[in-house]
C-alpha cells in the first residue's frame, strides 16, 4: 500500500478531485441516481426511500387514529381499517426500519473504516433496487390484488399474518400473495446488503483499523447484518411455505386440512424477534456515536458495549416464543421463554448505564443530535421497562395483544429508533450535504414530535390496562376508553406538525443552511477526516489509524487515545 499516510496534527485532507459531478439538469440527476453504485448515493437513496415510505405508513396510521378517535365511529369501514394496520406494520418494519438502517450503514460504514466503497458496489445497488421495487409491489396490491375473485385488495391479515388467516379459505383474491411475494423479494435484497456490509467490514478496513478499534456504530451494523442473514431466510421460508399452501396444496399451516396454526407462529417469530433487534440496532449505533462526541468523552467501557450488542443479538435468537404466551404452550416452555427474555434486559441495561456514564463527567453540548438522543434514552428506558413487564408471562396473559403492547413497541420503534434516526440525520447532515441543519427548526421538530409522541402513545398503556385489545376498528362507549383514545388521536396531529418542521428543515438547510466545513462537531471518527460532502472515492489516501478515535489522536498529539487502550 504505497499511499498510506498517518493522521497527525499536520494532516490536511487534499482537495478532492471531483469526478462525475452533477451538471444540474434533472434528467441527469435521475440518471445518476439510477445508474449509481456509489455507497453514499445509495445510502442517501435508502434513507430517502425509507422516509418516503415512513410518510405513507404514517398517513395510514393517522387514518386509523381518526377512526378510533370516537367510539362507534364510521370514518373507515372495517376492511379498510384492517388493510391499513397490515400495510402500516409491514411498511414500517420492512420498508422504513430496515432501509433506514441499511441507508446509514451504507453511507457510513465505508467512511468509518476508511474504505473507498462497499465491497460489492453493484450488489449494493441491486439490494437497493430490489428493496425499492418490493415496496412498490406491495403498494401495487391496492390496484392489482382484487384479481379474479374481486375479494380483498391490500393485504389485511396483519403484519405477522397469523395462519390460517392467510389460507385460501380466509384470504381470497391475491392480497396475501402480494404480501408474501413482496416480502420474499425484499428479503433477497436485505440479505444481499447485509452480506455486503459484512464483507466490507471484514475485508476493507484501512491500515490499523483492527476489529477492536471499529467505531461502535460499525460493530452494531456488523451485528445487524449477522442477524439479517440468520433471520431473514426464516421469513423467506415462511413466505414460500404459505405460497405452497395456497397454490400447490401443501398443508403446513392450512388448519382445514390438518395443518398447524401454531407452527406458523414459531416460524414467524424465529424471524420476527431477531427482526426487532435488527430494527433497534441503528438506535444503538447512532447513540453510541452521538453521545460521546457531544459529551466530549470517549464511549464508557468500549469492550463491554460491544459485548453487550453481541449478547443482545445472541440472546434474541432464543426468545421468540414470548410472543406466544397465550397460545397454550406448556408451563415449562412459558417459564423458559420468560427466562431468556428477561436475560436480554441485562446487556440492554448495560448499554443504558454506559451511555449515562459516558455523559457523566463530560461537557454536554445540547446540539440537535444530543437532544434527540436524550429523548431516546428517556423513551427507551420506558420501553425497556415495559418490555421487562411483558416478559413476565402472567402479566402478559393480560397485556398480550392489548394496547399496552402497541404502546410498548411504539416507544421502542418511534421513541427509540425514530428519535435516533432523527439524531443521526441531524448529526451527519453536514457530512452529506456540507450544510448545517437549522437549530431552531430542529428544536421545533423535537418539541412538537416529542409532545405528540407521548400524547399518542402514553395513554395507550392505560388503554391496555383497561382491557382494550389491539386491531379493533371500533369500540363501544362506556368502557373507559373514549377520552384516552381521543387524546391519542390528537397527539398524531402534533406529531405530523413536527414531521413538517423536519422535512422543511431538510429542504431549507440544503439551500439556505450555513456552510458546515468538514468537521463541524469536532468529532473523532474517520468520516470527519474527509471533505463534506465526501468525494466519490472518500479518501484520496488511505488513512492509518492507531486507536478508536483517530481524529482525537490527530487533534491531541500530546495525549492520544492509543496510550490508554
Amino acid at each position: 500500500m504505497s499511499q498510506e499516510i498517518t493522521i497527525d496534527a499536520n494532516y490536511r485532507m487534499p482537495e478532492p478531485v471531483r469526478v462525475g459531478e452533477e451538471t444540474g439538469s434533472l434528467t441527469r440527476v435521475f440518471q445518476q441516481l439510477i445508474f449509481t453504485v456509489d455507497h453514499k448515493k445509495l445510502g442517501l437513496m435508502y434513507i430517502g426511500a425509507g422516509l418516503l415510505f415512513f410518510v405513507i405508513a404514517g398517513f395510514l396510521a393517522a387514518l386509523m387514529r381518526m377512526q378510533l378517535a370516537f367510539p362507534n365511529n364510521h370514518f373507515l369501514p372495517p376492511d379498510v381499517f384492517n388493510q391499513s394496520f397490515t400495510m402500516h406494520g409491514t411498511t414500517m418494519v420492512f420498508l422504513v426500519g430496515m432501509p433506514l438502517a441499511f441507508g446509514f450503514a451504507n453511507y457510513l460504514v465505508p467512511l468509518m473504516i476508511g474504505a473507498r466503497d462497499m465491497a460489492f458496489p453493484r450488489l449494493n445497488a441491486f439490494g437497493f433496487w430490489v428493496f425499492f421495487f418490493s415496496g412498490l409491489f406491495l403498494y401495487f396490491s391496492y390496484i392489482g390484488a382484487p384479481g379474479l375473485y374481486a375479494a380483498g385488495s391490500a393485504p389485511d391479515a396483519g403484519w405477522f399474518a397469523y395462519s390460517p388467516l392467510t389460507a385460501k379459505a380466509f384470504s381470497r383474491g391475491h392480497s396475501t400473495d402480494y404480501w408474501t411475494l413482496s416480502l420474499l423479494l425484499g428479503g433477497v435484497g436485505s440479505v444481499a446488503t447485509a452480506l455486503n456490509i459484512l464483507v466490507t467490514v471484514f475485508c476493507m478496513r484501512c491500515p490499523g483499523m483492527t476489529l477492536g478499534r471499529l467505531p461502535i456504530f460499525v460493530w452494531c451494523m456488523v451485528v445487524l447484518s449477522f442477524l439479517v442473514i440468520l433471520a431473514l431466510p426464516c421469513l423467506s421460508a415462511c413466505q414460500i411455505m404459505i405460497s405452497l399452501d395456497r397454490y400447490l396444496g401443501a398443508k403446513f399451516f392450512d388448519t382445514q386440512a390438518g395443518g398447524d396454526a401454531v407452527l406458523w407462529q414459531h416460524f414467524f417469530w424465529i424471524f420476527g424477534h431477531p427482526e426487532v433487534y435488527i430494527l433497534i440496532m441503528p438506535a444503538f449505533a447512532i447513540t453510541s456515536e452521538v453521545i460521546p462526541v457531544f459529551s466530549r468523552k470517549p464511549i464508557f467501557g468500549y469492550p463491554i458495549m460491544v459485548a453487550a450488542v453481541v449478547a443482545i443479538a445472541f440472546i434474541s435468537l432464543g426468545v421468540w416464543a414470548h410472543h406466544m404466551f397465550c397460545v397454550g404452550m406448556v408451563s415449562l416452555a412459558n417459564a423458559f421463554f420468560v427466562t431468556s427474555t428477561l436475560l436480554v434486559s441485562v446487556p440492554t441495561g448495560i448499554k443504558i448505564f454506559n451511555w449515562l456514564a459516558t455523559m457523566y463527567g463530560g461537557k454536554l453540548r445540547f446540539e440537535l443530535p444530543l437532544i434527540f438522543c436524550i429523548g431516546f434514552l428517556f423513551q427507551f428506558l420506558i420501553a425497556g421497562l415495559t418490555g421487562v413487564m411483558l416478559a413476565v408471562a402472567p402479566f402478559t396473559w393480560q397485556l398480550s395483544d392489548s394496547y399496552f403492547v402497541v404502546a410498548h413497541f411504539h416507544y421502542i420503534l418511534i421513541g427509540g429508533l425514530l428519535f435516533t434516526i432523527f439524531a443521526g440525520i441531524y448529526y451527519w447532515y453536514p457530512k452529506a450535504f456540507g450544510k448545517m441543519p437549522d437549530y431552531k427548526l430542529g428544536l421545533w421538530h423535537f418539541a412538537l414530535f416529542s409532545i405528540g409522541f407521548h400524547m399518542t402513545f402514553l395513554p395507550q398503556h392505560f388503554l391496555g390496562f383497561l382491557g382494550m385489545p389491539r386491531r379493533i376498528y371500533t369500540y363501544q362507549d362506556g368502557r373507559g376508553w373514549d377520552t384516552m383514545n381521543l387524546i391519542s388521536t390528537i397527539g398524531v396531529a402534533i406529531q405530523a406538525a413536527g414531521i413538517l418542521f423536519f422535512v422543511y428543515n431538510l429542504i431549507y438547510s440544503y439551500f439556505w443552511g450555513k456552510k458546515s466545513g468538514d468537521d463541524p462537531w469536532d468529532a473523532w471518527t474517520l468520516e470527519w477526516a474527509t471533505t463534506s460532502p465526501p468525494p466519490e472515492y472518500n479518501f484520496a489516501k488511505f488513512p492509518v489509524v492507531k486507536s478508536r478515535r483517530p481524529l482525537w489522536d490527530a487533534k491531541h498529539p500530546e495525549d492520544p487515545d492509543w496510550k490508554h487502550e
Binding site: F170, G301, L364, F366, T396, G467
Partner: protein, 365 residues
C-alpha cells in the same frame, strides 16, 4: 395472599390506575353508567375491564408477579431517570468558554461495569423464580372433578358456548355461578377450541388471555367472586369483524344459575300470537334453518349461533347491539349495516316477514 404479597400490592396500589383512578383521570363519561340504577346486583355490568381490579381468582393470582415487576421497574425508572436528570443538569454547558478545554477522558471502569452487570442479573433471577411459580400456579391449577365445564368454540365472529355435562348450547354469553373467597372453591373450567381461525378469550377482570386455536384444545379457568356481567373481547385478530366479537360472562348466584340451567334445558314455549305463529312458519320456510338451530325442530344448522333460547340473551350479533325488537328488526333487514362483513346474509325479507320473524324470535325464551 401471603404477607409479603399483600405488602407489595398494598405499597403499589396507589401507583396503579385502578378503575377509580381511571375514572378520575381519563373517563369522566363512564361515570354515568355507574350511576344507572341496576335492576338487581347480579345484573350489574362491569364495564371498566380494569386488570388491576380483578374479581376472579386467576386474575388475582397473576397480579402477584405483576405488582412485583411493576415495583422493580418503578425503582429502576426512578434511579435511572434520577441519574439522567442529574447528569443533564450537572454537566450542562456553562458559558461560551467552557468548550475550550476537553473534560477528563475516562475510558471505562471494570468495577462499575461489573456492578451493573451483576445487579440486573440478580433482579432477573428473582423475577424468573416468581414468574415461574406464578405460571405453574395459574396454568397448571388442577380443576376439581365437579368443576363446571364449558366448551367455548370461536367462530368468525361469534362465540359458541357449550355445557357438555348439562347438555346446553348457547352463544356469546357464558353463564357461571359465583364462587367465594372463603367458601369452597367453585371454579369454571373452560375448554377452548376454534372452528376457523385463531381467536382469544379475554375477560380482563376474570382471567388473562388464552387463545382458541384451530386443531388444538386449550384450557383456562375462571373463578369469579362477584356477580354481574363481565365484558370481554376477542383478543387475537381474527378477520374483518374482530372488533365486534364481544363476549359476556354473566356471573350469577348459584340459585340464579340453577334457574338459568333449568330454563335452558326446557324447550321454548310454542308461540301464541298469530303473528309469531306466522313467524315460526316463515323461519322454517326461509333458509334460516340452514345455519341456525332450535332444539327439537327441523332447524338443525350449526353454521350460525344456536337460537333455542335466543330471546333471553342480552345482545345481538356477538355484542354488536342490545337484543331489542328494534335492533333485531334492523339486524334482519341488513346484518351488514350493523356488522359490516359478517357472514349472516341479507335475506331480502318482506316487511311482513320481518315483523313476523321478530315476533317469533322474541318468543324463544
Amino acid at each position: 395472599m401471603s404477607p409479603i404479597r399483600s405488602y407489595i400490592s398494598g405499597f403499589l396500589k396507589p401507583f396503579i390506575p385502578t378503575a377509580t383512578a381511571s375514572f378520575l383521570l381519563f373517563a369522566p363519561g363512564a361515570a354515568s353508567f355507574a350511576a344507572e340504577p341496576e335492576a338487581s346486583p347480579s345484573s350489574e355490568i362491569h364495564r371498566i375491564a380494569d386488570i388491576f381490579a380483578p374479581l376472579s381468582r386467576p386474575a388475582e393470582l397473576l397480579l402477584e408477579p405483576t405488582y412485583l415487576v411493576l415495583l422493580i421497574c418503578l425503582g429502576i425508572f426512578i434511579v435511572v431517570m434520577g441519574v439522567l436528570v442529574y447528569v443533564l443538569i450537572k454537566f450542562r454547558p456553562r458559558g461560551p468558554e467552557d468548550h475550550l478545554e476537553e473534560p477528563p477522558q475516562v475510558y471505562g471502569s471494570y468495577n462499575i461495569e461489573m456492578a451493573w452487570t451483576v445487579i440486573p442479573c440478580l433482579i432477573v433471577f428473582v423475577l424468573v423464580l416468581v414468574s415461574a411459580r406464578s405460571i405453574v400456579e395459574i396454568q397448571d391449577q388442577p380443576m376439581p372433578e365437579d368443576a363446571l365445564k364449558i366448551r367455548l368454540i370461536g367462530h368468525q365472529w361469534w362465540w359458541e358456548v357449550q355445557y357438555p355435562d348439562l347438555g346446553i348450547i348457547t352463544a356469546n354469553e357464558i353463564h357461571v355461578p359465583v364462587s367465594s373467597k372463603n367458601g369452597p372453591p367453585r371454579p369454571t373450567h373452560i375448554i377452548l377450541e376454534s372452528a376457523d381461525v385463531i381467536h382469544s378469550f379475554w375477560v380482563p377482570q376474570l382471567a388473562g388471555k388464552t387463545d382458541l386455536v384451530p386443531n388444538r384444545v386449550n384450557h383456562t379457568w375462571i373463578e369469579p367472586f362477584k356477580t354481574g356481567v363481565f365484558l370481554g373481547n376477542c383478543a387475537e385478530y381474527c378477520g374483518t369483524q374482530h372488533a365486534n366479537m364481544l363476549l359476556r360472562v354473566i356471573v350469577q348466584t348459584p340459585e340464579d344459575f340453577q334457574k338459568w340451567v333449568e330454563n335452558q334445558k326446557q324447550l321454548p314455549s310454542e308461540p301464541k300470537d298469530a303473528i309469531a305463529i306466522q313467524g315460526k312458519k316463515d323461519f322454517y320456510d326461509l333458509s334460516c334453518v340452514s345455519c341456525h338451530k332450535i332444539d327439537s325442530t327441523p332447524a338443525e344448522g350449526v353454521f350460525g349461533p344456536d337460537l333455542t333460547k335466543f330471546a333471553i340473551r342480552q345482545t345481538l350479533g356477538a355484542g354488536v347491539a342490545a337484543n331489542t325488537a328494534e335492533n333485531l328488526h334492523a339486524w334482519l333487514v341488513d346484518p351488514d349495516a350493523l356488522k359490516p362483513g359478517c357472514y349472516m346474509p341479507d335475506m331480502k325479507l318482506s316487511p311482513q316477514q320481518l315483523d313476523s320473524l321478530v315476533a317469533y324470535l322474541q318468543t324463544l325464551k
